[in-house]
Amino acid sequence: MPLVEPGAPPASANAAPQVDPAVARAYWKKTSGLMWTVLAIWFFAGFGIHFFAPSLNPIHVFGFPLGFWFAAQGSLVIFVVGLFWFAKRQNQIDEEFGVQEDA
């Protein structure tokens, strides 16, 4: 029984593209740029900063050795804030190119 599923996009096989190809290309370029930016933040917080853990550790903040603090808390905060920022930024890009979902 082929009912239309509520909330899902229609899956018709040969509808015309709804976004101009040139716009789509520009949109994807900017989206990729954001992806690489966030990937760089990910690499820095997930790996880069911890390469320096042995040299950061002699610095103590509120008792925390700094290298330990980054792995236990600092990087996690960067991940969380980074993701909210990413969601916001990507929404702006969607709207800039007029490709956001129809409400």
């Binding site: 599923e5 509520p6 709804q18 550790n57 969380v80 993701l83 990413f86």
Partner: protein, 685 residues
């Protein structure tokens, strides 16, 4: 919460009210039990009430969320708001290992254990930027659905299903063991009995309502698990530092631990086996000096856990349930926030627990240890007592290396260490149970859906009517659950180390194909199939080979010195099989005849940088380590290999058709519909 279709669902619009009421109700329930305890109700009854009432609530949610609609069953009707999907993902994600085991691992490993904290949070960045929004736009039911639609049908779909089943099954067995351990301790029943009780709790949540029921149960479970995790830590912080913010205050505990460790060392003592003697120091060997091996293993583990997070189907499928692409992105951020609340606190548990033990137990007469220590000197399902006091030098005084504590006890015993009433211990048990049940629910659903939707509906009978598909789903759910419980009941706690394998297997099998499918238009069907198959097989084979045939592995990859060392380890193993022992002894006896392994040139590639291929004795086996890497990080080889194969094979095989390119265009852009390259891949309800 009746099965309404589309439009304004009164349940969805009242979510805040419903869950606020639920949280308040739970608080009242805890206070009520605390009062009962003061009135002299025995601990055992309190434990029963906690376990049965919380499971009863989950079952109630599961039953009222029953549904006969396919889209409700598989993707909760795509109506789950970002923040609630975030909570559901949080409890889907945080397993018994996170709730009970993580703080204990940090206790034992110190800085080294932070690899788990980093890996299990950072992976969500990859989910958000590389996969979740695009999978949501694709908009079907499962991860193999995407592989089938993008890579030309059943072959890609089947490989996806095999990877999914391998990684999820291993994982779900471990969750059921977790449920068994908690239920056994708090209900005082046999382990097998506990496993089947837990199983009933899991099935009643997911069977009638599929994803819809699992989602709303998981939100309820998240609320309980986070309350149960934070409250003892806050009270512990209050006890030790006088400030109820454990996340800020454990710096003080860390400083004191460093001081105590130095004092113990100065007195000529050594740490107990498996526990680091330098809690805060990164990348060190047993002597406290920098160790290249420790550093590479740390980063390799972080990498594998992150990539594995972004490839585990029970997590990815949660992002199919949001109303839009935009909500899917926001939802990943919320997921990470809710997970962060727990992982941010775990190192505090470890630090306060360690400080308390180092400060008030070490150096005391063994006969005069506090009651909580005695309460935990009982046998665990792992075959050693939870807390094992071994008076090595027989002087009656507790030394540093004489106090051996199982990782799980650090969280479970915190309420008693801090001198809190039993009701808090019951709360912790309820939280651990919520964590294990919610993860098991999500995994079982992922497994059963792969079998019912991807294998049965998409590959065997495309004309199956809705009612039949749902019946098949439910029957398979029961079968998978019983198979998992049977395995858990037989293997017991010995298989918990396999959980870490699930990450490497999923990472090597799925991650590259999913990412390349979205981000590289030129990825061909053949390339993706080869990439998934090789990544999966190489990783799986490598894990089995190094873990169970370590000596043989060394004979291929090791130098003659390394082979001799491995043979000596095997010969000295008390648990080794007689044939292996005899073989190893023969090798040792004839040491001069040992030749370098046939691939020892590969094994010695990084020997100059301090990373020779060697073997260690772990879990009662001789385990091989290529370039000194623990096999827990086996994905470090499989993931790049999979990417490389996909890229190279794509250059030599038939380019994707125009229709496929259009399909990729459509999933990249939030607006509009999705033009499938093959109309047969469309889901009908």
């Amino acid at each position: 919460m009746s099965a309404s279709t589309g439009g304004k669902d009164p349940f969805i619009s009242n979510l805040n009210k419903i869950y606020a009421g639920y949280t308040g109700g739970f608080a009242v329930f805890v206070v009520l039990l605390a009062i009962l305890e003061q009135m002299g109700v025995p601990d055992r009854i309190i434990g029963y009430l906690f376990v049965f009432l919380t499971i009863g609530v989950y079952a109630y949610i599961g039953i009222i969320s029953r549904t006969a609609q396919v889209s409700e069953y598989y993707v909760a009707g795509r109506k789950v708001p970002a923040i609630y999907n975030g909570m559901a993902t949080g409890s889907d994600w945080m397993s018994a290992a996170s709730f009970i085991g993580m703080a204990g691992s940090l206790y034992a490993l110190g800085y080294g254990g932070l690899a788990f904290i980093l890996g299990w949070t950072g992976g969500y960045m990859l989910v958000a930027i590389l996969l979740a929004p695009y999978l949501r736009k694709f908009g079907q039911y499962t991860v193999p659905d995407f592989l089938g639609a993008r890579f030309g049908g059943n072959l890609a779909r089947s490989i996806g299903v095999v990877v999914l089943i391998t990684s999820s099954f291993v994982y779900v067995v471990a969750q059921i063991v977790g449920v068994g351990i908690i239920t056994q301790r708090f209900l005082d029943v046999s382990f097998t009995m506990a496993v089947f009780l837990g199983l009933a709790g899991i099935l009643v949540c997911s069977m009638l309502g599929g994803m819809r029921a699992v989602t709303w149960t998981q939100v309820a479970q998240y609320i309980i698990l986070i309350i149960a995790y934070l409250i003892p830590a806050i009270l512990m912080s209050l006890k030790v530092t006088g400030v109820p913010v454990p996340q800020l205050m454990y710096g003080i505990a860390l400083e004191r631990i460093e001081g105590l460790e130095a004092a113990f060392r100065a007195a000529g003592q050594t740490p107990p086996p498996g526990v680091t003697g330098f809690h805060t120091a990164p990348f060190i060997g047993a002597n406290g000096q920098f160790n290249m091996n420790a550093a590479t293993n740390f980063f390799a583990l972080v990498f594998c856990l992150m990539v594995g997070t972004a490839a585990l189907p029970h997590i990815l499928m949660r992002y199919f349930t949001t109303p839009s692409v935009r909500e899917a992105r926001a939802s990943v951020a919320w997921s990470l926030f809710f997970i962060f609340l727990l992982y941010f606190t775990a190192p505090a548990y470890a630090a306060f627990g360690k400080l308390e033990i180092y400060q008030s137990l070490i150096g005391q007469p063994i006969a005069a240890l506090p009651d909580w220590v005695k309460n935990w000197q009982i046998m665990s399902p792992y075959g050693v007592p939870w807390i094992n006091i071994v008076d090595v030098n027989r002087d009656g005084i507790l030394q540093w290396n004489e106090f051996r504590i199982h990782a799980d006890v650090v969280v479970l015993a915190t309420p008693e260490i801090a001198g809190l009433p039993y009701v808090i211990a019951g709360l912790v048990a309820a939280g651990g149970l919520a964590a294990a049940l919610s993860t098991a629910d999500g995994l079982l659903l992922a497994l059963a859906n792969a079998l019912s939707h991807d294998v049965y509906y998409k590959m065997i009978n495309r004309n199956a009517p809705t009612a039949q598909r749902l019946i098949i789903s439910r029957v398979l759910l029961i079968f998978v659950a019983i198979a998992a419980a049977w395995t858990a009941g037989n293997a017991g706690a010995d298989i918990l180390f396999l959980v870490a394998w699930a990450f490497s297997i999923a990472a090597a099998g799925l991650f590259a194909a999913l990412v390349m499918g979205v981000w590289y238009k030129g990825t061909t069907n053949a390339a993706a199939c080869w990439g998934m198959a090789v990544g999966y097989l190489v990783t799986f084979f490598y894990l089995i080979w190094t873990e169970f045939f370590g000596l043989h592995f060394m004979e291929v990859f090791g130098t003659k010195e390394a082979i001799l060392a491995a043979a000596r380890q095997a010969a000295a193993l008390p648990q080794a099989a007689p044939e292996l022992k005899a073989y190893a002894e023969a090798l040792v006896a004839n040491a001069a005849a040992i030749q370098n392994g046939s691939l020892s040139w590969l094994g010695s590639l990084f020997a100059g940088s301090g990373l020779p291929t060697d073997s260690v004795v772990l879990r009662g086996r001789v385990v091989g380590r290529l370039w000194g890497l623990n096999n827990i990080s086996g994905g470090i080889i499989g993931v790049p290999l999979s990417f490389l194969i996909i890229y190279v094979v794509s250059q030599f095989t038939t380019k994707p058709s125009q229709a496929m390119q259009d399909f990729i265009e459509d999933i990249r852009i939030p607006k509009g519909g999705v033009r499938l390259a093959d109309a047969r891949e469309a889901v009908k309800e």
